[in-house]
Symmetry: C2
Subunit: 723 residues, 2 copies
């Protein structure tokens, strides 16, 4: 169960499939568009950190020079799936190696037939190397012309980000050097084209922004021609000489076999750590591997100044901006299986602390208020206004950048979890502690003391359920902020014992006066939360007074409740986009009794827009169902997460992978069905697996040591053992 | 005085010079960017009617495939002004023929020297033909490679509008066929490259979106190589087979000489009609010819469904949208000198009547309310919001599309003037009358009866002075609306006598009931205008109560008063962007005594932002000064208009020619200094020329007959004679 495949090409789902067949190596990803192009394709390569300015949304990852371009002419006729006849077609992505293969038997308009096999991978061993191979088996005698190019004329859905700096050839390696228009980041790609036959004719077409190497071969029936294109890539974020570096990496690729072998070995190491085995459920098995693959190809291995966007590196959606999706949904996958990657992601937040502090300060608060949408610098890049989807002359205000304050607690949560799981005290001392203390400072000043009600409140916020904005005392926000403040004291206590110099340093730099700490204590101790006697938590002040609403009454539907009701009407009823309260109960599960969790699950489950609401909801819903011992209910929700991209259940997978859903899928398997919980002694599992699952096995690292979980179903709880 | 030239290239003013050296033929214009490119150039070709969608501003003319691209390599070294050494440089635009010539003597980095002469023109004889010639005189023996391309990768300041449809070669003519992304308009360019030597090597580089013909020649010292590039162009607005048409036009160009000869003859005809001779003032002479040239190359000769944008076809400014600038500033030039073009421009308004009626109806009015900014369909394309120039997270509301109702009267005014001057009764009967009657309908319903004040008012409007918005009873708006309503009765009376069937038809179609006509009479008779005893008109209700303000107190300055004060503060004082009241007195000069005009001139002249306010103001100010017999004052204002683009007085000529200023320059000469006025008997001039002008001579058509004016200075008034 390692292969994602299709055996027919459907133009109407080409954007969805481009997303699904994305390959990458943590430095960049390339969507699964065809080498030769196809009308209205959405071909894109996104390189981490290569942001450029854009109207309204401030900044976006600039669609990089297309390295795929390979045009094949059979006796002068241009191969393309939108001409001639496709006699057979199949495409496969091997998740084990990230190799994408396409086989096509094609008949040209004038009747030349050939079978073409395209293969590509982005080397995991050398992240500056991209490899492409095309094998042509002609059923005619004649010529095959191969045009390999580097296309710098790429746009982001109509926005051009590049201007050319230089192009040319060095030692038969062609290169293109471009620069982003506003941010002045340099990008260089260099290509070497090898073939197993001597071309009849070779020409270098030095056309502006699209250097192309054309080679024409004499071919005979059934004699396979193989052409390999090796592309080196580098940016000014890597080196002061991107062209030199790109040429070097293209040049050192010896041949396909050796490059692939090294790449494959690197992937074997990844899967050794990260793989999850599910027996008895092929769909779940492939979905969890697909989710892991998508996260692994988007995850920066050697870069601590980038993060993973909400749509990973696989599409134009959300423009490469990172959200809380990272810390709450994706980060745990890395924290448990690839701590070195998790650390890079948290380092990114550490490096954006200046911007987070500036955002807090501008708004009259202290500490660090992270951007709801974060890109290169960590400045807030949530659009303030977007065109109204109903009337293009109007604008709709986007409030998350102003009101979704929980992001700071989410970053703190991810930081603390990383520390607890990895035991990486060195990193925590140098960077992690500061993240938790300075977000606590933010929550300390953002809280309002309401004299009349004798409590602290967080008013005018947006919680995870974005159907309701400008709410007071959102449960998720209040609980996580409280947790952040309380955890700050745990951190201070630890620093006092383990590294008093660091405590002194932080106390001074972050201005942790006794007055301030006292305020934190008071806010944490007097934070408002409205709880019914049975443990049912009100999502925010007045939620229970809103018009009741159950999505089931509106089935069948193909739109979110938000679209059906409109922004204002959705605000006025109990329909929710995702299970806000259950999120808290998952993240802070030790704080709640089974009974309380059940009360909330039963209430909110009925009122959540599971199908077209947030893609972040289903995995959490699945985990909480398992926590209550309802694995079959959980499975129903799990499937929604697992299918998010593979089956394009929301119809928007073409915009890119739902990274949070991918992370949530893994979490649902490990923490939901597997029931893994770490504790002071080690770990334990309380499995609640769907009946049809025969076996669940996965690994993770605890304090640097690999742990193996292998659960046969039916099985009881296992107690943790360090292997 | 026909040559615009420069003898040094200054990169910092390259965008200004690209605008100045724009060439065109009424079908398209091409900015004066270099054939070989230059870093950060703003190269563009705009073809009439080729609009595509864009965020915020709705639609814009899509920057078309670049036909200029010509790369020259001397012994393999690429010619470019940003490398090597420029030994000499000059550039000339001959306004008489629209031929742009550039001479460069260049030394390559390794020391190869050559003199290159580039020439280009857009054929006025065949508007689907573009011609480019390069002559290279090497000072070395070796090779010269010439790469001629059609570059389809053009963007509008970062926005990509095109996708490729096809490309290739037909009979050694290379073509590129592209399509706008949203509006699906097709564009095809085809090129033929001829040279006076047989190339050593010829190659066709079939690179996506940029087909290129590369030819390498063996050259000897001092032996001139001449290469000619003929480009055919056509769109789906012209034909169902744009590629075939483009190939045909490129193919039928025999050689440079014959193509240029035909083109030159066509220009001779234009100048025979339109030229203005000013003796004794070289600057005025060249400025008026330059203005005429810019208008003539932007004016559609064979297309009645396009208009001239505020920045003509010469830049990205205002995205090709047409404003009142057409009817009030540019149209008179054509009405008097080229009635066939004027008719096309008015036909455009006639064809956009459905959109104008829809706009009126949507807002609860009857008749035709033309778009403030008008593009392909005539729908309102004024942006509603634009990013605030002070804080990019904020948006500024643009009100002109909602409140600048005078546009409908401006269209009616241009229509009536065309009819009076040309006597084109056939056209007026079929189309013109409807324009005046349906705009009257609009003003009939837009007027509010204010019982308390016993009068009709137009409230909540913006007049020509855009420093003040949401004003009541703007003088220009009220007077022009009143004129429009009154003129409607003149039209009805004429129809009744001359073509009663048309009257019946229009009465029915436009619903011209007696009730409605009675309303028009009442509105016209009771329209409010606040006038002081000396004839001073208040620009709008309460204007005289605003804080007084004189721009002179703020000199020297380099910004508009709007920028200095900010939008709100400017609204609250008497600083004005352009002479709103004087505009009325110019357009409706028969309505005002000399004394009244003087009172207004003296008052408003001091309060107008002449230097950085509207580029539309100075020419009107000049005319009104002449009307009062102050030609030297008038000259001071005239010079501001004449220099608007040639000297880039506002620093924004890089965005394109100020079309209204160009039209105003001609009007200032003809109606201001020349004092031309038509009357029932013919015409007369009341010249008020600056002392240093020796002679002023121009022609115009009255009722189809050419009239010649030739004024020696000093001279008295002449009486009209038909030549």
């Amino acid at each position: 169960m390692w292969i994602i495949s299709e055996d027919i090409f459907e133009p109407k789902s080409q954007h969805h499939k481009e997303t699904i067949f994305t390959i990458g190596n943590g430095y960049l990803s390339t969507r699964g568009a065809f080498e030769e192009g196809y009308p209205a394709d959405s071909r894109a390569t996104f390189v981490h950190g290569m942001f450029d300015r854009v109207p309204i949304a401030f900044t976006e990852l600039a669609n990089a020079t297309d390295w795929l371009s390979l045009i094949i002419l059979l006796n002068g006729e241009c191969f393309s799936l939108d001409s001639g006849t496709v006699e057979s077609y199949d495409r496969h992505l091997d998740l084990r190696t990230g190799l994408l293969i396409r086989n096509v038997r094609w008949r040209s308009p004038s009747g030349c037939v050939a079978t073409l096999k395209f293969e590509r991978f982005a080397s995991l061993e050398d992240e500056h190397l991209l490899c492409l191979r095309c094998q042509v088996e002609p059923e005619f005698d004649g010529t095959v012309e191969v045009r390999a190019g580097l296309n710098g004329n790429m746009d982001n859905e109509g926005i051009m980000h590049w201007r050319r700096v230089a192009q040319g050839q060095r030692d038969s390696i062609a290169f293109l050097h471009t620069r982003t228009r506003a941010t002045n980041l340099d990008l260089a790609l260099a290509m070497k084209v090898d073939s197993d036959q001597t071309p009849l004719e070779t020409a270098f077409w030095d056309v502006e922004n699209f250097p192309t190497l054309s080679q024409t071969f004499t071919v005979k029936r059934s004699q396979i021609l193989s052409v390999e294109k090796f592309v080196g890539i580098a940016t000014s974020r890597d080196t002061s000489d991107p062209v030199g570096m790109a040429v070097e990496h293209a040049g050192k690729a010896i041949n396909w076999e050796s490059a692939f072998e090294a790449h494959q070995q690197a992937w074997a190491q990844e899967w050794k750590r990260a793989d999850v085995i599910i027996e008895g459920d092929d769909e779940a098995q492939i979905a969890v591997r697909f989710s892991l693959f998508q996260l692994l190809i988007a995850a920066p291995r050697h870069d601590e100044r980038v993060n993973i966007g909400a749509k990973t590196l696989s599409g134009f959606g959300y423009r490469g901006h990172a959200f809380w999706d990272t810390e709450i949904f994706m980060l745990p996958v890395f924290t448990y299986t690839s701590p070195h990657i998790a650390r890079n992601l948290l380092d990114y937040r550490f490096h954006t602390l200046p911007a987070a502090r500036a955002k807090a300060k501008e708004n009259g608060f202290e500490g660090a208020w992270f951007a709801w949408e974060s890109a290169d610098t960590g400045e807030e890049v949530t659009p303030t206004w977007v065109p109204d989807f109903k009337d293009k002359k109007k604008l709709a205000r986007v409030w998350t950048g102003d009101l979704a304050i929980h992001i700071s607690a989410d970053v703190a949560y991810g930081t603390y979890q990383y520390w607890r799981v990895t035991g990486d005290d060195d990193w925590f001392r140098e960077r992690g502690a500061e993240l938790i203390l300075d977000t606590a400072s933010f929550f300390g000043t953002r809280a309002e003391w309401i004299e009349a009600r004798n409590r602290y409140e967080y008013n005018d916020v947006i919680g995870p359920d974005e159907y309701h904005d400008h709410v007071n005392n959102n449960a998720y926000t209040n609980c996580l902020a409280q947790w952040n403040l309380e955890t700050a004291f745990t951190v201070l206590d630890w620093l006092k014992v383990k590294c008093p110099e660091k405590l002194t340093d932080l106390t001074e730099r972050l201005n942790l006066t006794e007055v301030r700490l006292e305020k934190w204590r008071k806010v944490a101790a007097n934070m408002h939360l409205s709880v019914k006697p049975d443990g049912l938590i009100e999502q925010f002040d007045g939620f229970f007074d809103l018009k009741d609403f159950k999505p089931a009454d509106y089935e069948p539907r193909t739109k979110s409740m938000h679209e059906i009701f409109g922004i204002e009407a959705a605000n006025e009823c109990q329909a929710i986009k995702q299970p806000d309260v259950l999120m808290v109960q998952y993240l802070l599960h030790d704080h709640y009794s089974g009974e309380a969790i059940r009360a909330n699950y039963n209430y909110y489950n009925l009122r959540t827009d599971h199908t077209y609401g947030s893609s972040l909801g289903p995995s959490i819903q699945a985990i909480v169902a398992c926590m209550m011992g309802y694995p079959e209910d959980g499975y129903e929700h799990f499937v929604r997460a697992a299918r998010a991209d593979l089956r394009d259940v929301r119809g928007n997978a073409g915009d890119g992978i739902h990274g949070a859903s991918a992370g949530g899928t893994w979490q649902a398997v490990v923490f939901g069905f597997g029931g893994l919980r770490l504790n002071a002694e080690g770990w334990k599992t309380s499995p609640h697996m769907p009946k049809h699952w025969k076996r669940l096995s996965f690994k993770f690292f605890q304090h640097g040591k690999i742990q193996v979980v292998d659960i046969q179903n039916p099985s009881g709880a296992e107690t943790g053992n360090t292997s």
